[in-house]
């Protein structure tokens, strides 16, 4: 009986638990169904929108700016450098409407940003990320952020934003260019922008509701690839000296502008390429827009008598004349369309070719050039590099103007023979004269040490500089001997240009300048001087050109000559070049 009742109770209990179990299963099934339905809803219908919504709510995307490469001079001194800066950003959702004006005032005072723009950024609806200030020096930015936090503003953040610095200010600014707010403007900065810029990285991380980064939240980082450095062949000390000497000469001559080039004769490396007036790369807006480039590359002008060195050395190379060839030079030379004069009036003179060069006679040079075969001078000038860009890697260089063979005729040849009707840029002319210094072998002038690729795909630099023989060594030596007579006070124009104690080869140029508005000679001049020293073992080629307004007193030798002498002296001194100790050329100039 008792056994029966026990077994009866057991059945009842089993029944109840089965019911409980079924109910339990039912509840679980319902819950799982809800989950499944939600899953289908999330995954099947527009999953992207949900993912995006999730990302927007707590995922922060930040660009990690790559550090821009440094531009240094040949000794590694920085001419353009990137330093750590911070961009200050704000999360407008954390700024209460009545806080915004006070915060905007605070930021305007501390960072010098525009009040109205900052206020607008702080009030931007539906945004959690607004830029307040770019490129704030890191120390200053951190100080401002700390102060803001202490005053109870929690909506400000910072992120990397490198600053471009030009520690040498105006030294080589014409070559370096500068960074504008929208990117590189001019010079190396512009030409090699892709190489210098590197590739920005990206960082994604989770933030908490209050905007702070979750320390253990999920994050992913693509590291930025920093830009490559560029080393120039420029010697910043020499460049500085050249710029100062040039400026002083320009000021003294009341010049429109001036240019000077120093080339390492054997390597073709440009040690200095100066323009005046120029600008401070750290404060480009302080200078007129016209001064923000490199006139030494972009501006073309007629080189005048300096070009005679190319004409005469070509004639010697072609075997037409020698340095002792005798010329009878009349006071005026009547040609097809014009009368050619010398810079000063004289009767008929008996000069050797050395005398023609030393005294810079147009008539003597034209008479000598009559010995050229058809188009021969054109071919030589082309080989000297006239009419072609030097392609040192700075955009905006002008190729100059060398009349084509089609345009070529006897009148044009007459004028080109003494440096008219042909236009050059300063570096081009310096490289051509350097050809004579380098024993007749032209070497590409280069400004980039090693090699670098421009944005347009050109590979430039000392590693890829090419050489070509233009005139024979003998012709170059004879030309050098004649050019030494220019700097000799006894035979030259009595001008300066000679570095005392050193054999110095030089050539003056006093060219009429073409006024671009009228296309005529308006009385303005280009005073220039090119030369190299020590003449018998050249180390440097220096070229100076100073453009003066109409009716300015002066000449190539008198105005540019002393600049040449100072620059050459400084270069010889700085690089410890001793005089060769040999006797200077004593070529006869008259007969």
């Amino acid at each position: 009986m008792s056994q029966q009742s026990r077994s009866g109770a057991g059945t009842a209990r089993r029944g109840r638990s089965q019911i409980r179990l079924r109910w339990g299963f039912l509840v679980i099934a319902i819950v799982l169904s809800v989950f499944a339905a939600r899953l289908v809803q999330l995954q099947a219908f527009d999953p992207g929108a949900y993912a995006a919504a999730a990302a927007a709510s707590n995922i922060q995307n930040v660009t990690l700016p790559a550090t821009r490469g440094t531009i240094t001079d040949r000794n590694g001194k920085p001419l353009a450098d990137s330093v750590d800066g911070l961009a200050i950003t704000a999360d407008p959702t954390l700024v209460t409407p009545d806080q915004a004006p006070a915060l905007a005032t605070f930021l305007a005072n501390k960072l010098g940003v525009d009040y109205a723009a900052t206020l607008a950024a702080l009030r931007k609806p539906d945004s959690r990320f607004q830029y307040i200030a770019h490129q704030v020096p890191a120390r200053k930015a951190n100080a401002v952020l700390a102060e803001a936090r202490s005053q109870g503003y929690n909506a400000l953040y910072s992120q990397r934003d490198p600053i471009r610095e030009y520690p040498a200010h105006d030294v080589a600014a014409n070559l370096i260019g500068f960074m504008g707010t929208d990117g590189a403007l001019g010079g190396i900065e512009h030409s090699f922008n892709d190489m210098l810029a590197g590739t920005d990285g990206k960082e994604t991380y989770e933030v908490a509701a209050n905007g702070t980064r979750l320390p253990l939240g999920s994050s992913s980082t693509v590291e930025p690839v920093d830009g490559a450095d560029i080393k120039l062949t420029i010697d910043s000390d020499l460049q500085w000296y050249v710029q100062r000497v040039l400026r002083q000469a320009d000021e003294a001559a009341n010049a429109v502008n001036g240019m000077a080039v120093v080339i390492d004769t054997k390597t073709g490396q440009v040690l200095a390429l100066a323009d005046d007036p120029t600008f401070d790369a750290d404060d480009p807006s302080a200078s007129p827009a016209a001064d923000l480039g490199a006139r030494s590359l972009s501006q073309v002008y007629e080189p005048g008598s300096v070009e005679k060195t190319l004409t005469v050395s070509s004639l010697i190379d072609a075997g037409k004349i020698t340095d002792t060839t005798r010329e009878v030079v009349p006071g005026a030379l009547y040609r097809e369309d014009t009368v050619i004069h010398d810079a000063w009036s004289h009767g008929t003179l008996h000069w050797t070719l050395a005398g023609v060069i030393a005294q810079s006679s147009n008539i003597g040079t034209v008479l000598a050039a009559d010995r050229f075969g058809d188009g021969q001078l054109h071919a030589y000038l082309e080989k000297f590099g006239l009419g072609q860009r030097t392609n040192i890697g700075i955009q905006g260089e002008s190729p100059g103007i060398l009349p084509t063979m089609k345009q070529w005729n006897h009148e044009i040849q007459d004028r080109i023979a003494f440096g008219q009707s042909v236009s050059v840029n300063a570096l081009q002319m310096a490289a051509a004269v350097n050809t004579i210094a380098n024993g007749g072998v032209r070497i590409d002038p280069e400004i980039v040490m090693g090699k670098a690729t421009t944005d347009t795909g050109d590979v430039v630099g000392t590693d890829v500089a090419t050489k070509r023989r233009v005139i024979s060594k003998k012709a170059a030596t004879e030309m050098m001997m004649m050019m030494e007579r220019v700097t000799d006070p006894a035979t030259g124009g009595g001008y300066e240009g000679l570095v005392p104690g050193y054999r110095t080869a030089g050539k003056t140029g006093t060219a009429q300048r073409v006024n671009e508005d009228c296309g005529c000679y308006d009385g303005s001049h280009t005073f220039s001087f090119a030369g190299f020293a020590p003449a018998d073992k050249p180390r440097f080629t220096v070229y100076v050109a100073i453009n003066v307004p109409p009716s300015t007193a002066g000449s190539g030798g008198g105005t540019a000559g002393p600049v040449f002498e100072k620059i050459m002296s400084y270069a010889l001194h700085k690089y410890g070049v001793a005089p060769t100790g040999t006797k200077a050329s004593q070529l006869p100039t008259t007969w």
Binding site: D81, D84, A138, R139, N142, V171, W240, P277, H573
Partner: protein, 156 residues
């Protein structure tokens, strides 16, 4: 009853009746179920300890990780600050090293740039080149003149 007992007593032990023995053996009787109840307490304590220990351990681990992350953030901020400081000092150095500021300082000390190079050959004591005394004018002017500055302003 007693006769049976006597008969049984009389019967030698070895003369047992097999049938009775079998019966005797076959008789089953209820043995009280021994409920040696194992104590649940140690098990519960163990599980609870594991659970609590696990949770607390995880919490501690997490906290220390967070702490490490925070101190990492703090230290990296400090590193950034120091790097910024170093950089600003380097910038300052670069500015001091620029040729213009060196020249300005040298000039303030009365130094000038020599006009013409000359070389002294120590073994022979001979000088090549023309040794020329430096003068105040052999150094170029370090700053542009007011006139040029004014001209620039007008052009602008």
């Amino acid at each position: 009853m007693s006769s049976t007992a006597a008969a049984q007593a009389r019967r030698p032990r070895w003369a047992t009746n097999p049938a009775t023995d079998a019966l005797q053996r076959a008789r089953l009787f209820l043995v009280p179920r021994s409920r040696a109840k194992a104590s649940k307490v140690p098990f519960i304590v163990l599980v609870s300890a594991l659970l609590v220990g696990g949770v607390v351990g995880l919490l501690c681990f997490n906290t220390s990780m967070q702490q490490a992350a925070f101190s990492e953030a703090k230290l990296s901020q400090e590193a950034t600050d120091l790097a910024a400081k170093q950089e600003s000092l380097e910038t300052q150095l670069q500015r001091l090293q620029n040729p213009q500021s060196i020249a300005a300082r040298a000039q303030a000390h009365g130094m000038v740039i020599p006009p013409t190079p000359a070389v002294l050959h120590v073994p022979s004591g001979k000088v090549s080149g023309v040794a020329t005394p430096a003068t105040a004018v052999s150094t170029p002017r370090l700053w542009g003149t007011e006139y040029r500055h004014a001209l620039m302003v007008i052009q602008r």
